[in-house]
Amino acid sequence: MSNSIEILIKSIVLIMILMGAAAYMTFCERVVMARMQLRLGPNRVGPLGLWQPLADGIKLLCKESFRPAGADALTYALAPAITLFTALFAFVLIPFGDTIQLWGHTVALYIANVDVGILLILAVSSLAVYGVFLAGWGSNNRYALLGGLRATAQMISYEIPMSLALLTVVVASGTLRLPEIVQMQREHWFIWTNPLSFIIYLIAAFAETNRAPFDLPESEQELTAGYHTEYGGMKFAMFFMAEYINILAVSAIMVTFFFGGWLGPFDIPILWFICKIAIVVFLFLWVRATMARFRYGELMSFSWKILLPLSIINLIITTYFTVV
């Protein structure tokens, strides 16, 4: 009983933090990308523009909640919910730190520690694809449908190299559980032993979250916003939040698997984790400001013809060195 209450409290705290973090990530993105383009980001709302996400949130809440004619009501309403749910779910298993003492209770800084760990995260992030193509289909708009199908194809084809890259780390550490993968990195981080996996995972992470340079499904110039064209107000806010929470999720997995999770000097539980995630998120923003987007055919052939063989060879080599 007390266990469920503990889980409930941790989940609520985590959701609050994630929503706030995703909102402020939109602000950081605008400021960082603006500075890289020699302009200022938003700096009018509140001191240094810090209330900007609040203003954005209020704006989106006050918008009309509409449904296009001919759109299937259930599908249309369900799609953003599925996307947001799967994005948030990835954080259930991620360890923010070891156990800490809070008011006499020993609290572990993760919500769950299942035997299959990373497999559950990958499975649920595969479900995120449902949100995307249900949005495209339920909008009753051919461009949204096309955008949704392209996004779906992109996401499912990049899941394979991503999973194989993570599999090499699993092979190297011998366990699927995330807290133990972090513990195995006490001597050295896995990025030094599996650099190629890191690169493959990085590229696949960009593609999974539909982020530049793989952001064709949601590029404004090419597809009029793709699968979330027909969404406005709160439903659009949910897609928006889900995208940024997805970025945080893949960054968190990246930090957990390759950068030693929450380990650092003095092993302060949450601080190092947040610092590392901040650096990875900055990398996401930096790449978005730098690179032109891939054409869709190039994107798909890159996944199947280059990343997949590379990740398979990587897996074979890692397994050879571990087992032999």
Partner: protein, 147 residues
């Protein structure tokens, strides 16, 4: 690709080129064409003699001039006529400066004030009161000049 990333990062530390209007305003060149002024001679008389050349040359037909004769006891300008009514529709005006070029006395000039917002279309039909400078030299031009 790394080189490209480093170039972008270098830009992140340069000073942004944004001008934070309205706290910072751009200094325009002295001969930028903005708001019109009807100037006066050094002795306070209006330069405008009501010849209507500006209204004739204006490509947008934005100027309306109604001339009247200078009475002996009611002198407005150095010539025989003066402009009794002078209106410019700032919404029609294209700020080309032809009126300034056409004026034989150098009465109408274009300053470089460009902030001309108003709450209604009627407010942007500038009458002679709004256009005339209060004291000679207010518009920034030398009142002792010939044209």
């Amino acid at each position: 690709m790394m080189h490209g990333l480093l170039i972008v990062l270098k830009h992140a530390f340069k000073r942004p080129v944004t001008l934070q209007y309205p706290e910072e305003r751009k200094i325009l060149p002295a001969r930028s064409r903005g708001r019109h002024y009807l100037t006066k001679w050094d002795d306070g008389l209006e330069r405008c003699v009501g010849c209507e050349l500006c209204a004739i040359v204006c490509p947008a037909q934005a100027i309306y001039v109604k001339p009247a004769a200078n009475e002996p006891d009611d002198v407005h300008s150095h010539g025989e006529r003066y402009a009794a009514d002078f209106q410019i529709n700032m919404l029609r005006c294209i700020y080309c400066g032809y009126c300034e070029e056409a004026c034989p006395t150098g009465a109408i000039v274009l300053s470089n004030e460009y902030e001309l917002s108003a709450q209604s279309r009627e407010e942007l039909i500038f009458t002679k009161e709004i256009l005339t400078e209060k004291n000679p030299g207010d518009s920034g031009r030398d009142p002792k000049r010939e044209i």
